[in-house]
Amino acid sequence: MADPDFEQSLVKMFAEAPALPDPEGFARIVEARLDRGWNLRQALIWTMGLAGGVIGFSQVFPTRVMAQMGAASDESAKVIDQGVRSLSNLQGSLDTLPLGGEVVWMAAALGVIALAFAITRAVEEF
């Protein structure tokens, strides 16, 4: 047989919080877990942001670098080609000249200068 009054009193009894040990400690634990979860979430967001940034950078940057390197290589190749051509010309004129130690050293010096110039240009382009 149902008894509404008894059921209501039962609801009231259930609603009464029992005196349990260390309610403050319980609240502190929940707050600490909340903070930990919050910090973890922040760290996760930060990490994901960083990862996204790195991925985006890695997708964009190499493309530009390769394009710049390609352009620089073209320029450098021209410079080197000019240097080599001048060396070839020098070699050709050397054939007509009586070979001496001074001429060889001069050619070597020109070659070094041309190479240095090419490297400098390449570095500037890069």
């Binding site: 509404p4 209501q8 039962l10 609240a27 903070d35």
Partner: protein, 183 residues
């Protein structure tokens, strides 16, 4: 903070105010822990699940619109968490009919037996069903759904549980007959 109503604190918590939520935990922690113990959870498990319930409540705080009480809402979350644990760990299944009869708490007319003591006289299934309906505020149908048990089974457990509790608890003054359909 202490002077604010639960609904106001919940609104602040929904806006990310964790101290406001901490105040709610301080107010209602014992109530949630107590319900889980009354449902049959060991004290340490009850505390763990109560913490989980509050954390889940914080995650879903935007869903709380103040239609019921905040503590009632958290108690229902906690009860569902306990049911999930109860089923996962292969504990007694309320859908399997009557289970082991508890042995504690023989009543005598002169002695005052509180609710906690009286609940020990119920079987696990009766205790669970009564706690869900009268402690967590679920209807019979909601309890049946949460337990994944037939509605009739839940009603039977509740009825038997109430009969036992009525015998063990001092009847309130002015009790009357009449059917109150919980679900």
């Amino acid at each position: 903070m202490a002077g604010l109503h639960d609904v106001e604190l919940a609104a602040l918590a929904a806006a990310g105010d964790r101290p406001a939520f901490g105040e709610l935990v301080r107010r209602h922690g014992s109530s949630v822990r107590g319900l889980l113990r009354r449902m049959g959870a060991e004290p340490s498990l009850a505390d763990d699940l109560a913490q989980d319930a509050f954390l889940a409540a914080f995650e879903r705080i935007a869903e709380f619109r103040g239609e019921g009480t905040f503590v009632g809402w958290v108690r229902r979350i906690a009860a569902r968490l306990y049911i999930r644990r109860w089923r996962r760990e292969g504990l007694t299944d309320p859908s399997e009919g009557d289970l082991e009869e508890a042995t504690g708490g023989e009543a005598t007319a002169a002695s005052h037996i509180d609710l906690d003591g009286a609940l020990k006289s119920l079987s696990a299934a009766e205790r669970m069903c009564v706690s869900l309906c009268y402690g967590a505020g679920m209807s019979h149908a909601e309890a049946a759904e949460a337990l994944n048990a037939p509605l009739g089974t839940v009603k039977s457990h509740v009825k038997r549980g109430l009969d036992k509790l009525r015998l063990r608890l001092a009847p309130p003054a002015g009790s009357s007959d009449g059917r109150r359909e919980h679900g």
